[in-house]
Structures are given as C-alpha cells and as structure tokens.
C-alpha cells in the first residue's frame, strides 16, 4: 500500500467534507428559519464539542483526571460578557443594577473571546501550580474544588463591580451581533460557532500530533518512563492544563454568546459531569469521538427526547410522560452505553477514511475480498 498516496487522498477527502459541511450550513442558515431547533442543537453541540475536546486533551491524552472544566468555562463566559458589554449598558442600571461597573471600556467580539481564553489560561496556570503535583483521584477532587471556589468567587458580593455579583449578565455582544468584517452584514451564527470551534479543535489536533502531543501521551502511558526519558513532568502537565483551559475559556465565551444571558449559578459541577460524559461516551483519547458524542448528547438532551416531557400523551391510560421523564430515559441510555460500549463510540481511535473505504469495499465486493485486502495491508 502506498502510504503517501493514501495520506494525500485522506487530506483531499477531509477538505472536501469540511467544505461541504460549511457550504451546507451556509445554505441551511440562509434558507431555513433561524429559530429552528436544529440550529440550537448544532450551535450548542459544537460549543460542547470544543470543551469536550479540550477536556479530552487533559483526561485522554495527558492522563490527568481533572474536573475543573466548568470553572474555566465560567471564567471564559464572564470575561467575554464583561469585556464585550457596550459601555452605555455598563453605565445604565439595566445590568449593573446594584453596583457601579468598574470596567469602563468595551472590546470587539474576537478580542473579547481571545481574552476570555487567556484569562482562563492564567487562572489555570495559578491553580495548576499546587494542584498538578497531585495524582489521579486527588487531582480530580482538587480541580473540582477549585471550580466550585471560582463559582463562589464570581458570585461574591465584593466582586460585584466586575461580575455583577450573583445577578444575570446580559446585553453583551451575543451571536446576533457577529458581522462579516468591515461590513454590517450579519454573519450566520451557526456558521460562526462552527468556524471558531473548528479552528480551535484543529489547533488541538495539531498539538496532539506534534512532538508535545507525543510527550503528553508518554506521560499518560508511563510517568516514570517519561521522566526517565527526559520529559519534565510538571512542565508538560502544566502546559496541557493551561492549553486545555484556554480552549475551555473560549468555549465558555461562545456559550455566553449563544445563551444571550449568563449567570455563575449555571456553571455547577453538574456541567463538568456532562462534559465528562461526552468524553466518556465518545471515547477517552479520541477527538472525533468527543465531537460525535457531543452532538449526540446535545441532540438527545435538547431535541430527540423532548417528547418524553410532554404530559399530554397518555400511554396505557397512565400519565407516564411528564416533565423530567426525559432524564430517566436518558440515564438508562447512558447506563446501556457505559455497560456495553465501555470504551465509548470510538475507543481511542480516530475517524479514518481508510476504514470508511474498507467498509464500502466490503459492501460492494463481498466479504472475502475485503478480508484479503485488509490482510494485505498489514
């Protein structure tokens, strides 16, 4: 098998698929009603995909069991909201009702998003200094604790002039305010989310496939051997932690844009568990797994299982379906996945065109030939 030829073919396939995806999105956004549930699912799905991939970088590729993701999303969301809120809104008492806003300037959407990531990364660096010396469960407990502390800190009364205390943040630049650069034309919001997440995930994938990514995997596989081969454990763990938090911050900023309002109370540890669930369902150590699982999770949660909450339907004369029943079914589905697909949808493998082609080959040319082909490859 000519490996280089295959690589080129895979590259072309990926490019075509990406262009097709973005084109389809653009057409959908231009033709369909923007309030459609499909767009909500796509937007939220892609935002969660980014944070799931960033968590996978930490949990799946560096082997650090960290549960602080919601905390870093919180920092990202708040930083974005504070920075991008127009000065006029800050001065009026429509948002900062009980406090005088201390931030007297506003920034554009892209700088605010970048700063959201940077501030989250700085917090991660500080938290990482003590926390990353811990291992496995202890690390999980410590990061979870820090995430909760962050939430309490943002709701703290004394932080009011900056974070508006425990009150809702709103009227900042949300997804409807995104325009095509140098014009006033609205940028399709779903496309914007896909674009930002796509770039971020691509950067994470590049990192994972670089020399540093290999060092992360070495730490995950065997810390003692990694250290003996000259990989500085603390430096690399901190690096992974900071980078992961940076992207969690950006996805937090996007979540804030998507939701129109943001409140610290929303970023509970339950949110981290949701992200962890996506990572586990997708497969720990698989980027494509995380992306697929994120869309599945959001679609089930927000859309496909919604009908279960409608109390109007009666089955067998019992009012079985009532609000909250969705969660019951959802839990059962998750239990089935964890029991029967314990490695997740993708395991630790990535999506590969080779397997898709092999699959179709098998489909069209019968099983026997395909088996020969596979054994020929090895």
């Amino acid at each position: 098998m000519d490996l280089r030829k295959n690589k080129k073919r895979d590259g072309i396939c990926t490019a075509v698929a990406l262009i097709a995806m973005f084109a389809l999105l653009l057409i959908m956004e231009l033709t369909m009603k923007s309030t459609s549930i499909l767009f909500t699912v796509l937007k939220k799905g892609v935002i969660y995909a980014l944070v799931a991939v960033s968590m996978n970088l930490l949990n799946g590729f560096t082997g650090l069991f960290s549960l602080g993701q919601a905390g870093f999303m919180l920092i990202g969301a708040y930083t974005y909201a504070i920075l991008s809120m127009p000065v006029a809104v800050k001065l009026s008492d429509s948002v900062y009702k009980y406090y005088d806003c201390a931030i007297g300037f506003e920034l554009g959407i892209i700088p605010s998003m970048l700063l959201a990531g940077v501030i989250a990364a700085i917090f991660a660096m500080l938290i990482g200094l003590p926390v990353l010396r811990l291992k496995s469960d202890y690390l999980a407990i410590a990061t979870l604790g820090f995430a909760e502390i962050l939430r309490a800190f943002f709701q703290w009364d004394a932080m009011g002039p900056v974070t508006n205390g425990a009150n809702v943040m709103r009227q900042y630049k949300d997804l409807t305010k995104v325009t095509i650069p140098f014009t006033d034309i609205r940028f399709p919001p779903t496309l914007f989310c896909f674009l930002v997440s796509g770039i971020c995930i691509a950067i994470i994938v590049l990192l994972i496939n670089s020399s540093y990514g290999r060092a992360f995997k070495a730490i995950r596989d065997d810390e003692i051997a990694a250290e003996a081969m000259g990989i500085n454990l603390f430096k690399h763990k901190e690096m992974s932690f900071v980078i992961s938090s940076f992207f969690a911050g950006i996805s937090g900023a996007m979540l804030a844009m998507f939701q129109y309002t943001v409140q610290a109370a929303q970023f509970k540890s339950a949110m981290t568990y949701e992200i962890l669930l996506i990572v586990v369902i997708g497969g720990i150590g698989s980027v494509t797994g995380s992306c697929i699982a994120s869309f599945l999770f959001i679609a089930c949660n927000e859309w496909w299982l919604r009908f279960l909450d409608e109390s109007a339907n009666n089955i067998l004369g019992m009012n079985l379906l009532r609000s909250g029943f969705r969660k019951v079914v959802f839990s059962v589905v998750i239990m089935i996945i964890v029991l029967f697909f314990s490695k997740g949808i993708m395991g630790d493998k990535e999506f590969s065109w080779q397997r898709i082609f092999d699959f179709f080959h098998k489909l069209f040319h019968g099983k026997k030939q395909a088996v020969e082909e596979v054994s020929g490859n090895e």
Binding site: I203, L206, L207, S210, S211, Y212, R214, A215, K217, A218, R220, D221, D222, I224, A225, A226, E227, A228, M229, G230, I231, N232, L233, M239, I243, G285, D348
Partner: protein, 282 residues
Amino acid sequence: MSENVLRLEDVTMQFGGVVAVNNLSLEVNRGEIVALIGPNGAGKTTAFNCITGVYEPTNGQVSFEGKVIVANHPTGKMKKNYQGLNSEKYLHIKPVDPTPDQITKLGIARTFQNIRLWKSMTVFDNVLTAKHMRAKQNVFTATFRISAAEERRMREETMALLEEQNLVQFKDDLATSLPYGLQRRLEIARALATEPKLLLLDEPAAGMNPQETEELGQFIMQIKEKYDLTIFMIEHHMDLVMKFSDRIYVIDFGKLIAKGTPAEIQANPKVIEAYLGVTDDE
C-alpha cells in the same frame, strides 16, 4: 582512559530503619563496561534510582563528568536515625536533588528492570518521543509546524536507530506487541534516542536464554563503540557479566563487598559466600 564519568561517594539510601544502600562508593571510567552485581535485594536498583534522581539519597554525593549532580546529608528526623557513615563529610555541601529528567538531560539514560515502554504507542513513536527532550522546538512552533524541518530530522534519526536495531519491520506495531527480547532492545533504542554519554542498564538480559544473552552482549559492545558510550549495568547472568564487563562491583545488603576484574571477582571468597552462603562445617 581513566577519566571518571560517574563517581559515587558514600551514597546511602535509608528508608526509615532499613538501609538499602550503605556507603556505596564506586567509579565508572570513560569507555568502560562496569557491572554491578549482588544477590536479590542487595540494593542494586536502589543505587540506580539514586543516580537517576528517582530517589534522593540520604547521604553522599554522585558526580557525573566531574560535576556534582546529586548530593545530600541527613536532615530532620533522619539526623538521629541515620545508620550509615560519613554524614559529617557532606554537611557543608548544599544538597542537590534533581528530577530524573534533569539527569537524563545531562546525558545519563537508563532502562528499567521491568520493561516500561509506552504501551499505547507504536515502536516508532516510542523512540521518536524520547527525542523530544533534545528538540529545540517550543509548543508554538511545534503546533503550527514552523519547526517542520526539525521534526523531519527527528523522524529520520529515529528511522536510522530502528534500522540499526533491526526493528524497522515492527515500526508501526504497538510496542507491547513485540516479543520480550525485542521489547528490551526497543528500550535500549529508546534510551539511545536521548543521546546519552552514560547508559545505565537495569538487568538487560532478564528473562533471556543463553543464546539471546550472548547476542545482547555483542549488541552492547556494538553500541558502546558506535556511540562512544560508557555502560554501567546491573545483571544476574554471570556469563554476560564475566565475558563483557571490564570491572565488577559486588554489593550485598547495600554494602560494597568486592570490586575488581571478572577474574578477581570469580576468585573472591566473599563473593562466593554472598552468593552461595557459608556452610556450618567449614
């Protein structure tokens, strides 16, 4: 030829009340193959761990190419409990406690008694990852492929290393899928990828049959010549030790009991005693 590469002085490792390594002093000269032998539990691997920064010795110092790389003296509670000698000798020396990666960076690479390859990685990636330490790229240039030339060079060097070890045919296999003997070889290849001057081998022939052991000995000689290495190894296979090493140190219960050439060691009654025990009627 008599230049010290590695020098241990009064290295003592005490865990609570157990003295695992007791005032061990030894030298390894440039270009030599030196073996450290001793019965099970004698403290050989602990000595290795003291050299490579895994443990911080309780007392003593280790120097590499004339520079002190590890130094310590008993402190705190250990001051009272210390059972070794010469603790006052190192009181004025500032303790040096490097992490293992710093030691590796200086040019000391090691292999492990129980093989520690990176399980989820291929043979190729195992060696390539060990090259990470010497790479000049930073996380930014590596991610955005600005340092692609260096990456290419690393890959070529890895390929050359694998070719030399006859591991090329397995390069895309998982490291753990290799047969045991080849896994040992891969571990040595991985250690060589860090560009060491001194190679510490912890029981490289463990679990090998006599023929494989002989091959391993030849192989060690080969890489020693090619990479201008100094080799310090722990080994139980006496044929390997006697045939290939220039000098031998014998320890028992953490204490050095004999040193010398293979012929001297074979004739040393203390060594025979340590290995076979004394009979009452003698």
